[in-house]
């Protein structure tokens, strides 16, 4: 029993949580979302370019994409973060001056792009070959066919894994503490960790965990929903979105 009491004291002290709450909400949550969302955006852009390269028929276009994915999917995230956040400025390359969050976003984007390359490549290649052949036979160039025919079909299939990638990215943003974040730049984990090293109490870290769940659980539900929908076909036939697609069949009492 004493052990449980100690666990409760060290990890679930409500008073410590209460004191950290405002910082976690107004600074940590905001920065975590800002950093992971930006990294996701840049990661998508980079991933799309590399994915298109990865399915090229020319080996010298495929090769750099392959190497990029192998390298940055194979390295631990914390190492890439250090390499970008500390290595670049040490080498005198400082595109963002001293603004650490920008280096952090760059590092996470690089990692995300590697994973997203594979997701998009798989998505594009899952579209039947005949689609490309048909588009080409209508006189489209390779890029036109890719952009107008193949990619739009692939995108639907890759939405669940992409959402998953965003969830992972959100959690990886907790590693940014290695770069040193100043007041106002701190993300969720950093704030909790700081309380922990000052007091030896991990309750603020646990509260930070709750905030992560606040971001990740809705997204996980969304992935599951998309997955189900994809398997059962488009909505309309199912019961998933009856209100939007068939207003006449709405609940008694009409629409609110």
């Amino acid at each position: 029993m004493e052990r449980f009491a100690r666990l409760a004291d060290t990890f679930f002290d409500l008073e410590v949580m209460r004191r950290a709450f405002a910082d976690l909400l107004t600074e940590g949550l905001v920065n975590t979302i800002y950093i992971s969302a930006s990294a996701m955006l840049f990661g998508l852009a980079g991933g799309l370019v590399f994915a298109l390269m990865a399915i090229s028929r020319r080996w010298w276009i495929r090769l750099p994409a392959r190497a990029y994915v192998d390298l940055f999917r194979g390295l631990p995230a914390i190492l890439v973060i250090l390499l970008v956040g500390l290595g670049l400025p040490t080498a005198g390359i400082r595109p963002f001056g001293r603004y650490t969050p920008a280096y952090a976003i760059l590092a996470l984007s690089i990692i995300a792009a590697a994973y997203i390359t594979e997701i998009l490549r798989a998505g594009i290649q899952s579209v039947e070959k005949g689609q490309m052949e048909a588009a080409r036979s209508l006189g489209m160039t390779y890029l036109q066919a890719m952009w107008l025919v193949i990619v739009p079909q692939g995108v639907r299939r890759v939405l669940p894994p992409l959402t998953n990638e965003f969830i992972i990215l959100t959690k990886d943003s907790s590693l940014l503490f290695v770069l040193g974040l100043s007041l106002g730049e701190r993300e969720l984990y950093r704030i909790g960790q700081q309380v922990a090293s000052r007091t030896g109490n991990y309750s603020a870290v646990m509260l930070a965990g709750l905030f992560y769940l606040l971001i990740t659980i809705p997204l996980t539900r969304l992935v599951n929903y998309m997955d189900t929908r994809m398997r059962e076909g488009k909505p309309g036939a199912g019961e998933e979105e009856p209100l939007e697609l068939d207003p006449s069949a709405s609940v008694p009492g009409g629409r609110r």
């Binding site: 040490t90 001293r98 650490t100 040193g180 007041l183 700081q194 922990a196 030896g200 109490n201």
Partner: protein, 278 residues
């Protein structure tokens, strides 16, 4: 072919899992004597409240020269020598556990080790969770800057960005006193000094011994020493009064017979502070 490979893979994974389980089990074992009153009925335990007879498990963050660091595969430093001396006089062998500075206190409280020594400043906040021995070291803070810096002291810090290590008294001092500066905290001094060398920050506030060591190892410069009145202590669990008393008595002995001064001069230049001289 495929099934053969699969079987091989499964056996490797199983082996790994077993090895992992074995590793994980080990530290669990000496956990039984947690409450003092139960000690006698359980395993044989000596009166210092140690889980394993003759061995004191000591936690530290072994990345902090010259207090504790690993070189040539060996754990060494001032804290290390002092702790080994204390343990030897108590007839104990030291088993070192390397962990993160921020985890030390809660791991000690959770009985993952018997004591901690980590160049840790005694503070009221920390003393809420663990008990501290008598002071064994007087520390001052040092302001470290790059080789070409215009900063000559704390007076020049307005508008500058100052780095510190997480949870250290230097960080607290910086936040309290350098209100016109941006304070950035790092998980360790090496990380902070790395950022300073990368010119991502303008200065680092660090414990003087660590700063002096860094000055010797790189082209960074200690530009001002700040007296903050802090002392280091050895941490033990709050309910282990026997061990605390034993450490305090032995520490007093070591100071009185001049051994402290010997260890001090192995690691630091200059005179032994009066309170630790015999």
């Amino acid at each position: 072919m495929r099934s053969v490979n699969l079987r091989l893979l499964i056996s490797i994974v199983a082996l790994l899992a077993l090895a992992l389980a074995a590793c994980a089990d080990e530290p669990d074992e000496p956990e039984a004597p947690d409450e003092v009153d139960e000690v006698d009925e359980d395993e044989p335990v000596d009166d210092l409240g140690l889980a394993q007879e003759g061995v004191i498990v000591v936690g530290s963050d072994i990345d902090f020269p010259p207090f504790e660091f690993i070189e040539d595969g060996e754990i060494q430093g001032f804290d290390v020598d002092l702790m080994e001396e204390i343990a030897a006089r108590l007839g104990l062998e030291v088993e070192w556990v390397d962990t993160g500075f921020d985890a030390l206190i809660s791991q000690l409280a959770a009985d993952e080790f018997d004591a901690l020594i980590a160049a840790m400043t005694i503070t009221e906040e920390r003393a809420e969770t663990i008990a501290f021995s008598d002071p064994y070291f007087e520390a001052t803070q040092a302001l470290v800057v790059g080789p070409d810096s215009d900063i000559t002291g704390v007076g020049d810090l307005a508008g500058m960005s100052v780095g510190a290590q997480d949870g250290t008294t230097g960080e607290a001092y910086a936040e309290e006193n350098f209100t016109d500066s941006t304070i950035t905290s790092f998980p360790s001094y090496p990380a902070a000094f790395g950022a300073l060398e990368a010119d991502q920050i303008d200065a680092v506030l660090a414990d003087l011994p660590a700063a002096a060591e860094q000055e010797a190892r790189s082209d960074l410069v200690v530009t001002e020493v700040i007296d903050t009145d802090e002392v280091y202590g050895i941490g033990v669990q709050q309910d282990n009064e026997a061990l605390l008393a034993a450490i305090n008595d032995t520490l007093a002995e070591i100071i009185a017979d001049g051994t402290y001064a010997d260890i001090y001069s192995t690691w630091f230049e200059g005179d032994v502070p009066p309170r630790f001289a015999d």
